[in-house]
């Protein structure tokens, strides 16, 4: 039975049939179903806030980049007044993609099909043969501009949504904002991209990558075993480094905070409580921060945030629906610790394909040499050739394929590793807090957020 609050597939299956809240299981069918994909485009990617890039990609007036919001191509432009607009990159005349370049600078965007022209804020300027009224007289010019998205800039990151009536960006981040601010809003001048993103395709459903991004820790121990075996992370034992605190929310966001004392021998005295925050910062600065930049952290964060960033910084996590966040330490032989900052978006390109888009960032105020080192290590570890992530891209297509089997489609993915350790009483931050060894709670929260959106009235 069809009602407005439920999504029902043509065979009668509902979202609640696919996602069993009581047993924390998701039917494997949810990964590959093309009908479900179509609904996701409208109810998830048509409704929620999406990460599209960073404002440092378009520093000057007239600069533009083109990206995807779900399946919709969008044009992102810098205005004369320095604000940023995001608009549907589809000509209202006959549906041609107006701008066919990835990036550039232009005052006017002209559709190559019939020549309709738009200002870089999306306003319709005119069509050729103006005297002959090519665009007609039925609609006023004001109605012929490019469809605008709702935009929010957060820590320099460009977010947009088609949902003008939906939650504000702050409401979308909810309690998790307290943690994200520690990463994106901690320095005076913030982050910048070190170049355009790497982009490549994987023959996998977007949700395989995205539920993993919601802080799946277990896969690190097996899929990324070489990190202990060869790179000698955690002195060869990755298990010890998987103890920490995971924070999450019912909006599907999450971060894994990992105690520095578990990772580095330089930080072994962090536990005894005798060191001040300033002393700890000087020994192991948070990923991406140099010693010279420490006063900025003190200015921009609360003492509670700063204390957590020093002792147990967020290292990996996700932002619903399709963002992976990586703030990773890479210790150097000379004792220096380089911090990698990277964001991935996993863009759906059909039920069986995703585009992996990898942004590499650094603090604007970091010295050039530090940025270049961070960039090189980020390229070597993450993204297209990244030694960590090249392994992930083989698992996701297999899952996407197996989800189609007559038998396999009915088996369930299980998120039944539940955290039972109570949160530390001195934990300073808000949101849902999961203490101890990494478990499945944060990924389960991702599915609950997905379920909420999919069940919401269209």
């Amino acid at each position: 039975m069809l009602d407005r609050t439920r999504t029902t597939l043509s065979d009668g299956t509902t979202i609640d049939d696919l996602i069993n809240v009581q047993t924390r299981e998701v039917q494997l069918r949810a990964i590959s179903d093309p009908e479900l994909y179509d609904i996701e485009m409208r109810k998830v990617f048509g409704k929620t806030w999406l990460l599209l890039g960073h404002e440092s990609e378009i520093p000057a007036s007239g600069d533009f980049i083109t990206r995807l919001m779900g399946s919709d191509p969008v044009l992102i432009t810098r205005q004369k007044d320095e604000t940023i607009k995001v608009m549907l990159n589809v000509c209202p005349h006959r549906g041609m993609r107006v701008c066919v370049n990835d990036a550039g600078n232009a005052k006017v965007h002209t559709c190559i099909y019939h020549g309709w022209a738009f200002k870089n804020d999306g306003d319709f300027i005119g069509a050729p043969v103006a005297g002959e009224q090519m665009h007609g007289t039925i609609l006023p010019k004001e109605k012929l501009g490019l469809t605008q998205a709702r935009v929010h800039i957060y820590g320099g990151l460009i977010f947009a949504t088609w949902n003008f009536e939906g939650p504000s960006f702050d409401e979308f981040l909810g309690e998790m904002k307290w943690y994200y601010d520690m990463l994106f809003c901690r320095t005076d001048n913030g982050l910048e991209v070190l170049g355009p993103p790497q982009r490549f395709t994987i023959k996998a459903n977007w949700k395989t990558a995205c539920e993993q991004s919601a802080s799946d820790g277990f896969h690190t121990l097996t899929l990324h075993r070489w990190l202990g075996e060869f790179a000698k992370f955690g002195d060869g034992d990755l298990t010890t480094s998987m103890y920490g605190t995971e924070v999450s929310s019912l909006q599907g966001h999450s971060l894994r905070c990992m105690p520095v004392a578990n990772k580095f021998k330089q930080a072994k005295d962090f536990r005894d409580g005798n060191l001040t925050i300033a002393e700890k910062l000087a020994i192991v600065p948070p990923p991406g921060i140099t010693k010279e930049m420490l006063p900025e952290l003190v200015r921009n964060l609360t003492p509670e945030q700063l204390g957590l960033l020093v002792d147990s910084p967020p290292q990996v996590g996700g932002m619903f629906p399709n963002v992976l966040i990586a703030f990773i330490y890479v210790p150097q032989p000379d004792g220096e610790i380089i911090g990698l900052t990277s964001l991935h978006t996993y863009i759906p390109k059909g039920p069986d394909e995703l585009e992996f888009c990898n942004y590499i960032l650094a603090e604007k105020d970091a010295p050039e040499e530090h940025k270049q080192k961070a960039l090189q290590f980020a390229v070597r570890m993450l993204g297209t050739s990244g030694m960590v992530e090249q392994d992930d891209s083989d698992t996701w297509p297999h899952i996407t394929q197996t989800a189609k089997g007559a038998a396999a489609r009915n088996i369930t993915m299980k998120y039944q590793a539940v955290c039972t350790t109570p949160p530390r009483p001195d934990w300073p931050g808000p949101a849902l807090v999961y203490e101890g060894f990494t478990k499945d709670d944060t990924q389960w929260n991702w599915w609950l957020a997905y379920r909420d959106l999919m069940n919401a009235p269209a």
Binding site: A103, T384, S385
Partner: protein
């Protein structure tokens, strides 16, 4: 308004290097040796003889693969981006990558390994001021098959190499891989190009 106000027509042509530089003729002894080096290299990589391949790299190696972007004809020079790249490697980092594959039992991206075929063609060689160093352009079409996939993944590129004579053969001192795709059709670059 007129069309000219909407569509810029002043497409400027950038200054380019001379079309025929100090070409080493096709079929000359040096050319043949270089072609053989590139064919052997392709064979070693396709056969996953990675340590043999590393032995052909010079210790001052720069090995990069710029990101590509779709740009207008007028801005086509900016389609090659050398900030964030797909590969940004040195001799030491390449050895690290190879070591991960050869010395662990968990380099899953290539275990089981891809079946690859590197087709090297259109080799053009230029001499340089150093008689032992050659600038070499080659086209590479790399096909890749994983698991039961029947459709080959394809990647085409031009490689701008610097080969340095070492005794009777050469070593690779520099390689820049200019790929043709802005969005790579490979799910990763766990193989070398």
């Amino acid at each position: 308004m007129t069309m000219n106000a909407v569509i810029p027509t002043d497409v400027s042509v950038a200054e380019e290097a001379p079309f025929r530089p100090n070409r080493v003729p096709v079929g000359s002894p040096a050319y043949n040796q270089i072609a053989e080096f590139l064919y052997e290299e392709a064979w070693l990589l396709d056969e996953i003889r990675l340590k043999d391949w590393v032995a052909r790299l010079d210790i001052d190696l720069r090995y990069t693969c710029p990101v590509r972007q779709t740009r207008s004809l007028a801005q086509n020079a900016q389609s090659i981006v050398r900030t964030v790249m797909h590969f940004d490697e040195t001799y030491a980092s390449i050895r690290g990558r190879v070591g991960r594959i050869t010395d662990t039992k968990s380099a899953w991206a290539e275990d089981p390994p891809s079946r690859t075929r590197r087709l090297v063609t259109n080799i053009l060689v230029e001499s340089t001021e150093d008689p032992d160093e050659f600038e070499v352009k080659s086209y590479l079409l790399c096909s890749r098959s994983r698991f039961e996939e029947t459709t080959l993944l394809m990647l085409s590129c031009v490689r701008n190499d610097l080969l340095r004579r070492h005794g009777a053969s050469f070593k690779l001192a520099r390689r820049e891989i200019i790929v043709d795709q802005t969005v790579l059709g490979f799910p990763n670059l766990a193989i070398f190009l």
